[in-house]
Amino acid sequence: MPPTDVANPRYYHKVVDCQWACPAHTNVPQYLRLIGLGRYDDSYLLNRQSNVFPGILGRTCDRPCEPACRRGRVDEKPVAICRLKRVAADLRGDITDRLPKAPAQKNGKRVALIGAGPSSLTVANDLLPLGYDVTIYERHTKPGGLMRFNIPAFRLPEQVLDEECGYIVDMGATMKYGTTVDSMKALIAEGYDAVYVGSGAPRGKDLEIPGRWDAPAILTGMEWLSSVHFGHVQKIDKRVIIIGVGNTAMDCCRTSLRLGATDVKVVARRSREFFKASPWELEDAEHEGVQIIENHAPKQFVIENGRLVGMEFERLQWSTVDGRQKSTVLDTVVIPCDAVILAIGQDNAFPWIERDLGIEFSDTQMPVVDKVTHQSSRPGVYFGGDAAWGPQNIIWAVEHGHQAAISIHLHCWGRDVTARPAPGMTLVSAKLGLHAWSYNNDYNPSPRATMQHEALVRRFESMNVEVELGFTPEQSAREVERCLNCDLETHFAADLCIECDACVDVCPTSCLTITQNHSPVDELRQRLSAPALNATQEIYVSTLLPQTKRVMVKDEDVCLHCGLCADRCPTAAWDMRQFDLLKPYAGVEHR
């Protein structure tokens, strides 16, 4: 195997599992350490740099970082990364004077953003400080998109949303509220230098089965949640069935309970391991008394005298045939109910984009968008968030916004949008003295903190009672210590190594091996101190060691970043170095 190139930021970045998994590459370990130091403002602002909405995401993020977290590989449960973000947000002081500001002198470029959801707001956040004149068109009267009118207030308080959207709007975006863009042609005609489509995937999917249109009590989840948000709907009947088990279904069932339903069932075609909803949302729903029914496929609505009285399902049995899941119908059952909410997905719709503008659409009526640049087939028109490739989540919408902002900036100054600015890094030794490191390298064996919840009776009093109470200061202090500080990289200098084996011997998790480099990587992985069986994790291979011409090999999989290798190395061939990814943003380039 050729020696590993650690000069490329990619290698050390990938070691920081959470940061690698985060679509916006949030510097998780550093923000956790800042919380540990009580530096909540700094922690909040560090978060904001990459994920823009720490208070919102600290409550709602899909948290792809957590399944990736190394702690989960050594101790069952990952660090509670997401809810610690909320801690930074909740405990911060007034940081308004440290937020980016738009310069008084504009740069003369005008950009239009369609929709005021998280992705457009991110574009505005990145472009306003560069002097752009940013206009946001939004159908509704407030910013936030689905975060505001679909995510219920018991999960995300309005004040949190107002504050974080406000930080961006107040930078000086021109807000055209209550303005639906119904012609792209007309918008383009206004002479903007670039247009960003951040209009989301605003339509709930329907279910065309017998009885669908025969009674009023059959609703679609997204529309219904919006109606609840705007106060058009204030109650629901007692017995409610939700079709689907995604996150929308979870919000619908829990909202029903707050509007008077007492018997709420979520019905799924498949079994639990295939559910789309996050495990914690399923847990919360079940705790509130929602019943989850697996392996039931909707057959028809049962209507009597123009009134919905129940829904008929086929009971399915699933089996694997030729590696594929096949169902057989066992029988049918009717579940009585007063209302049904369909929560089976979202669709995009672009009736307002004329098809003769050079903006190409696919057979499925989705725009053709470049995965990296977010540019459509018409230069100067960009798509991001749920509008680009269908529904995703907030953190992806944010990252799309960052990337599109880079493209818009390049485009507006006549540069090639495909020539992406490269990430950089800094790598600073953490050594403070003999056996003294700039971070707490000891392993804290505490189990993952459990969230405190509002009492059930209080919860159902109104839509606005936030269910999760957040971590106590003691819980936060302990939970941040569970982080393994994966950004404190083990950095090796082969020329200094005397091959004493001290590092190999002391490593608690047998990550290190000194061996011959004469075989293909698969074989090498097998003959390490402990076989490196997790192929998703990298293997580091050094250059030749001076004395025996062997190499130092490190399996990154379960390195605890405890620093013992560097502690025990007599020549400082191993050092612990703090890695900081320098992520490029619009107008912020590192190389």
């Binding site: 392993y443 005397i498 091959e499 084996d501 998790t509 047998s510 490196a532 405890c562 025990r568």
Partner: protein
């Protein structure tokens, strides 16, 4: 020293041995030796060997004297018995312990100072008695613990850290042991676990005194240029005379036993060791050729390594003294201490 103790987490692909123990169960306290000390590597090799042999920790006794090397018994098998004796007395204390209870596995760890200066007489007699023990001599050419004075194993001409050369003749523990009738004589290097671990396992299985002289560099006081016990010098000058492959009872012998240069020695517990001399004229079962080869290497400035001599047929301390097989602690009191009547009868025989 290190900044923290070892976190209790281990690699998920690590296995348990036949006793259901992980390697972690064979570890001890955190080492307080200098970072990079060869002795820590020897400790790691011991842990690996104990784990592979399924040695029950509570049936082992760790014995040592004084020195950095002697401290290392604290760094492995924390559940074992142990005795940290005064300087140089480990062989005698182990002889006594073994006399009283032959059922335990004795692991003596000593240094070149502890064994070849103050403890030379002790070691010599433990060899003569063929005490059934593993004798690990962590040899760094200096008194590490007292900051680097030359020890009796320092070669003539080897330089101290300040630059003076040693002028006194060295004691080579292997040559000494061979002349004293040792029944298992080996040399290895802390930096070569591939060679060291099978030798440790064979030494543990050997019936009688098993000496392993392990060149184990002192990073702080004897790893400089001009030292003949440094990592670099040992790597450059070591010559493996005999390759050893330890074969536990359960495993098939893999080295081609028919090969003329391979001899298979059946060890006491049913396991065996395959020895392959790298030079055809060498016979690891013959004391005199072993002596000659080690001596020849020494005069060329080379470090002879490998399992250099084994005699599995020799009698140990118990055989020679015809002692009772049961550990003294397990004998009924009346048998162990038969009373005044028995003593009087005995005394009468000498009147």
């Amino acid at each position: 020293m290190s900044s923290i103790t070892k976190p209790p987490i281990r690699h998920p692909s690590l296995q348990k041995n036949a006793l259901g123990l992980s390697k972690q169960d064979y570890e001890g306290g955190m080492s307080t030796l200098c970072a990079g000390c060869g002795h820590d590597s020897v400790t790691a090799a011991l842990i690996q060997a104990f784990w592979e042999l399924d040695l029950p920790p509570h049936r082992a006794a760790k014995m040592s004297g004084i020195g950095c090397s002697s401290k290392t018994t604290g760094y492995f098998m924390k559940q074992s018995h142990g005795f940290n004796s005064v300087h140089g007395r480990m062989p005698s204390v182990t002889s006594g312990a073994n006399a009283a209870n032959r059922d335990l596995t004795y692991i003596g760890v000593s240094g070149d100072g502890d064994s070849l200066s103050i403890g030379l007489g002790q070691m010599a007699h433990a060899i003569r008695r063929n005490v059934n023990m593993l004798y690990v001599l962590e040899n760094n050419g200096v008194y590490g613990l007292t900051k680097g004075q030359f020890s009796a194993s320092a070669d003539v001409g080897s330089k101290s850290k300040k630059g003076e050369a040693n002028e006194q003749n060295p004691i080579d523990p292997l040559l000494l042991a061979l002349t004293l009738g040792a029944t298992f004589v080996a040399r290895s290097f802390s930096g070569d676990k591939q060679q060291l671990i099978p030798i440790i396992k064979a030494g543990l299985a050997h019936h009688g005194f098993a000496l392993i002289d392990i060149i184990s560099p002192c990073v702080s006081f004897n790893d400089h240029e001009g030292s003949t016990k440094s990592y670099a010098h040992t790597r450059a000058q070591s010559v493996e005379l005999v390759e050893a492959d330890f074969v536990p009872l359960r495993r098939e012998i893999r080295l081609p036993a028919q090969h003329p240069a391979v001899s298979v020695v059946k060890l006491h517990d049913g396991s065996s060791v395959c020895l392959r001399a790298t030079d055809g004229s060498y016979d690891p079962n013959d004391r005199d050729t072993a002596y000659q080869h080690v001596r020849a290497c020494q005069s060329r400035g080379e470090v002879a390594t490998g399992l250099l001599f084994v005699d599995e047929a020799a009698r140990d301390l118990h055989d020679m003294n015809r002692t009772v097989a049961t550990p003294l602690a397990e004998l009924p009191f009346e048998v162990l201490c038969p009373g005044k009547g028995a003593l009087d009868t005995l005394m009468a025989r000498y009147r």
